[in-house]
């Protein structure tokens, strides 16, 4: 368990590596999320729109960014997560999720930790998404 007092600006979150992605992962995520856009699952449709094969759901990649946060700070710690999608992800890619703390403050008796994150392709360092986040961490010494 991580406490607010244990965190400093500039701290790196433990990296999270996901993948290699498979077509099966995209089929599973389509069913789980309900996003059945066929460019994620049907190669023929991906080709029709000018892609050379199926691509991952942006929201699947954002889910990995979410796991980066909950692995570190715990489930239920995420107050806010915002991402900008930058690049497509294809099956066979392995992804690396990274985060860094950019701010800490106590608001209304809660430990707030803000930071920035990226998800990149491991092989070519291509940016898949970047974003920022705010977490609520428990205080070790609650003197209120």
């Amino acid at each position: 368990m991580i406490y607010y007092e244990d965190v400093d600006v500039g701290d790196d979150l433990p990296q999270l590596v996901k993948g290699p992605l498979t077509e099966q992962d995209l089929v599973r995520y389509s069913g789980a999320s309900g996003d059945f856009n066929p460019i994620h699952t049907v190669p023929k449709v991906a080709h029709l729109v000018g892609l050379d094969g199926v691509i991952a759901h942006g929201m699947l990649i954002m889910a990995y960014a979410g796991q980066l946060l909950t692995d570190w700070a715990g489930v239920g710690s995420v107050k806010r997560i915002k991402v900008r999608f930058s690049g497509m992800t294809k099956p066979t890619e392995t992804l690396v999720c990274r985060g860094q703390v950019t701010g800490t403050s106590i608001e209304d008796g809660q430990g707030m930790v803000s930071g920035k994150l990226t998800v990149k392709g491991q092989a070519d360092d291509s940016l898949k998404l970047k974003g920022d986040f705010t977490l609520i961490l428990p205080l070790r010494h609650n003197n209120l």
């Binding site: 309900g34 889910a63 239920g76 107050k79």
Partner: protein
């Protein structure tokens, strides 16, 4: 260049939608994203931060429904940005009501940016989550 999306849609409210957060759906989702955190398997687990995409697609109209209402072709859009801001926690068993609206439509560099904001209330009618989705029309 004229806008690809009708300005008159700003403020448009989609029909509200409702869903109970089910344990089985949570398990399906965490397996799909490959997250085996045991905290998702407790008695009344809190959902992963991006789980609410399930609400939009399985209970709401999803991206396709929103685009249809806006008169936009799904093949011409990109998902630009996504934000979830929690005002509380959501657990298995909670019943959410989602209300989506078109927040803004702006033109930049020949592309149209549509912001769709969805507010989720729980069964006690507390606002628990605000979602902002940015769709880019090419």
């Amino acid at each position: 260049m004229s806008k690809k999306v009708n300005d008159g849609m700003v403020g448009y409210a989609f029909p509200p939608f409702q869903m109970q957060i089910e344990r089985g759906k949570l398990r399906e989702f965490t397996r799909a994203i490959g997250d085996d955190n045991p905290a998702f398997q407790g008695d009344d687990p809190i959902i992963p931060p991006t789980f609410p995409t399930v609400f939009l697609f399985w209970a709401g109209e999803g991206l396709e429904g929103a685009l249809k209402a806006l008169g936009v072709d799904i093949w011409n859009v990109l998902h630009g940005e996504q934000e979830y801001e929690y005002h509380g926690v959501l657990r298995v068993g909670d019943v959410i009501t989602g209300r989506s609206r078109v927040e803004s439509i702006t033109e930049k560099k020949g592309m149209t940016f549509i912001l769709i904001v969805t507010e989720y209330h729980n069964q006690a009618d507390d606002l628990i989550l605000t979602e902002t989705m940015t769709i880019i029309v090419r």
